[in-house]
Subunit: 495 residues, 2 copies
């Protein structure tokens, strides 16, 4: 007989159990469970959720009958068994995002995922009203990833005290890093859940240096306990990505490389679903060694996006330049580039087979800056990023591979995927171009104005005489007529 419990594939099966609330359950109680079906088994960590309540959360990756059995050092939590039925996934649920085709991403069900994310570091630490507004904006702007911190943020423009903290205070009024604040985490999870419902991946930033509460200074044991608590609470949410740090290198005096390595190990060993794992630098010369196998994809901060192909060939993994500088007008150089420049950089990176992250930092009378607080968008890049995202959604599955040929493509960005070609001219403004056309004539050509967001048909004409064929032997027979202005792209597709 099957239990009446059912859960959709890639949804969350949650087991709530009662247990002791005295002492310090966070330190004293161990809880985990095996979950299995006919084919495989997962070891799932449980957690204490306060007030004598313990939870185990499991995300089944396959339909049909599943079983579980708990283990605990507490008799009332030990050897609890059961089974449940996993039904087809909810609409628009595709499972976890994984690395695909080496440089790109796809969901578990094979659907391509092209990250077009934004950054609202401390949005879960703002007023309820502002958080709701942020969700509405995210949905309207069509972002499909968000970088967000667990810990609150202490930084210029961002000094408000959050309502909830991830730890409880002790009698002396200091945060007690052995006692998590379940209310905080329930709130955080609600936001992760809501993002998931909007199809938005939560790129959860676990540590960061901008801190006045001591979170960045925790000792090794507290750090590991905190990481394990996050795994236990969050890993059943299919839209979670683990970002070990924003700007890990500014924390090296507190957390040396060995500790970051251990964090990666713990994630590899204890996250049942192997969510994506990354770490993000501050100084451009302080990239982590992203070639290490525990790192699933490369998150970097670098403003010189003409180096995009170098990053790709150095790391041979998906690249997301999450902080190439934000649209805005604050005095920090990382937060004051023009919308035009943001859109330009996005196109360069995406057409070269990498990905980029948005942020917005316009001065605001109440210091509500999207990059940290969320709220509403004030800039002009986000619409153009959504336009590019739509163009990428129409590419063949997978992603783009940069065209490497030196003389013609080294400066103009060209990406290919089979017969599909997307060429971005950026600051280049030719009157015509040797389009690098694929074989055959069964294709359509579009000229894309990346700023004005228009797409119009392109035309070919026979290549002209003065090509100096002895210099450029491989020139195609046809050339593409272009309007001779900057910030254009060309798309070539199968008809």
């Amino acid at each position: 007989m099957l239990t009446e419990n059912t859960v959709a594939q890639w949804g969350i099966f949650e087991l709530e159990l009662g247990g002791k609330s005295d002492g310090n359950p966070f330190l004293e109680v161990s809880l985990s469970a095996k979950f299995w079906n006919a084919e495989k088994e997962f070891l799932v960590p449980g957690f204490y959720d306060g007030a004598g309540t313990y939870r185990l959360r499991f995300m089944p990756d396959a339909q049909g009958e599943w079983h579980y059995s708990t283990s605990s050092n507490q008799v009332e939590l030990n050897n609890i068994e059961g089974r449940f039925l996993v039904t087809p996934p909810d609409e628009n649920k595709h499972g976890l995002v994984r690395v695909a085709h080496q440089y790109h991403f796809a969901y578990d069900d094979g659907t391509s995922y092209y990250p077009f994310g934004t950054t609202c570091y401390a949005w879960v630490h703002q007023t309820e009203e502002l958080q709701e507004q942020t969700l509405q904006t995210l949905q309207a702007a069509k972002f499909n990833k968000i970088r967000m911190c667990v810990f609150p943020k202490h930084y210029p423009y961002n000094e408000n005290e959050p309502d909830l903290h991830p730890f409880e205070k002790n009698a002396a009024g200091d945060f007690d890093f052995t006692r998590f604040n379940p209310e905080f985490f329930r709130h955080f999870e609600k936001r992760v859940q809501q993002l998931g419902e909007l199809g938005i991946e939560a790129d959860v930033i676990i540590w960061h240096p901008y801190d006045r509460w001591g979170y960045s200074q925790m000792d090794e044991e507290s750090d590991y306990r905190y990481l394990r608590y996050l795994i236990a609470r969050l890993s059943a949410y299919s839209n979670v990505w683990w970002s070990l740090a924003n700007e890990y290198d500014f924390l090296l005096n507190i957390k040396p490389i060995a500790r970051w390595e251990r964090f990666f190990e713990i994630l590899c060993e204890e996250d049942p679903y192997q969510h994506l794992r990354s770490i993000h630098n501050g100084n451009v010369n302080m990239n982590y060694d992203h070639t290490k196998p525990a790192i699933t994809h490369v998150c970097i901060q670098n403003w010189d996006v003409k180096r995009t192909k170098e990053w790709r060939s150095t790391y041979k993994k998906p690249i997301i330049n999450d902080e190439f500088e934000y649209e805005g007008n604050i005095p920090f150089a990382w937060g004051n580039i023009s919308a035009q420049e943001v859109v330009h950089r996005f196109w360069i990176m995406v057409v070269n087979g990498c990905y980029a992250g948005h942020g917005e930092t316009y001065e605001h009378p109440e210091n509500i800056l999207w990059w940290s607080h969320g709220g509403v968008l004030h800039g002009e890049s986000w619409q153009r990023i959504a336009f590019l995202q739509q163009i990428m959604a129409e590419t063949p599955v997978g992603g783009l591979t940069p065209i490497e040929d030196v003389w013609l493509w080294a400066r103009v960005s060209g990406g290919v995927n089979g017969i599909y070609r997307l060429i971005y001219f950026g600051e280049h403004q030719p009157m015509f171009w040797w389009a690098g056309l694929p074989e055959g004539d069964n294709y359509a050509i579009d000229i894309i104005d990346t700023w004005n967001m228009t797409i119009s048909p392109g035309a070919l004409r026979p290549a002209r005489i003065f090509m100096a064929k002895e210099l450029y032997k491989d020139l195609p027979q046809f050339e593409l007529v272009l309007p001779g202005k900057p910030y254009l792209a060309v798309r070539i597709r199968e008809k």
Copy 2:
């Protein structure tokens, strides 16, 4: 008794001699002279100028009495002696341009020289009318350097046959690399002379790969003879710079590195005045080893101008990025960037203590493209480059040193020279900026619109509260109010 011959300092004293015209004087006749005054001596090569005429040219670098004495394997050219008087230099004559302050340039008389050059590779190979027009345009546009080839150029848009060639043809109709064509060189020298009168340095490109006449394929002996003939004819012109090649790396299959090394040696040994020496790459990854002592300054081709500081710290010499891509609309990526981008890159490089070179490649109904033919300018960058040149002319003597501080200046370009500061924001558009003000209050602040070419006074206000002083301890007390739009610069000067 002094001879009646006089010549101005840094002018040309020329001795014309008669000799044999039979056989091959270019191969058979050796001619040189010592020139000396009370303090020093120069060994000056002579050359055959055709029709039994031999010449020796000398550029005196000091006023007063000078003497000479010739040496030749021909009795009628040997042991000819004389003396002459060197008078003060003509107005606007400052001597040769030399390296100064390690990263910059100055004339012999100490006057600062900031290179703001352009490129007209084959202008001396066009019609007389077009050449005269080019000179007028150069003067109007205020360029003070031009990259120009000795040899004609064979390239798309540039296939016209020149009227004059540097070599004579033999009976079979092939160019005879043992017989120079004096008429060609007299013409070339006239243009160098005219440039000098306009205050324009002639960056003479000795070899290049774009050739259908065989000049790029000459054997070693012919190459060395050609180089020595250039030294003998041109080195007395104070405005000559030696550029061994445009795109030497595309000639490596013909001329290996050892030959380029020998060219530098010959220049070092035989150019009496030690004109500036450089060599220019084609592929961005094929920079010559510019650290070699024979190379006075670095000429590179590289479009990623965000690397400017790297070049400076790698080579520790003056840097001129002579081909960072030209303003235009032809299909070659090196010749189709927007005027805005050209001006942007110029500012980045100059404020970071380096220099840049202009070129223009707009399609033209008669294929007259400035970059190769000269003529008139059609673009919008040259006026802005002249505007920047004027700003540099008003800097304290020397040049700019980039501000290296990581957090504030790594992305925004700042250059200093004593109390003088020039800050370029480029794509950054802050509403205010921590200006990095010098000590004291005896300075004026200007806000410069680099595109619209306006200069307006800037204002300071006390730095605001939210500076997070615990994060940014060294922030100045004042902040500079800015208009929050891109492509602005700020100048801070002593009042």
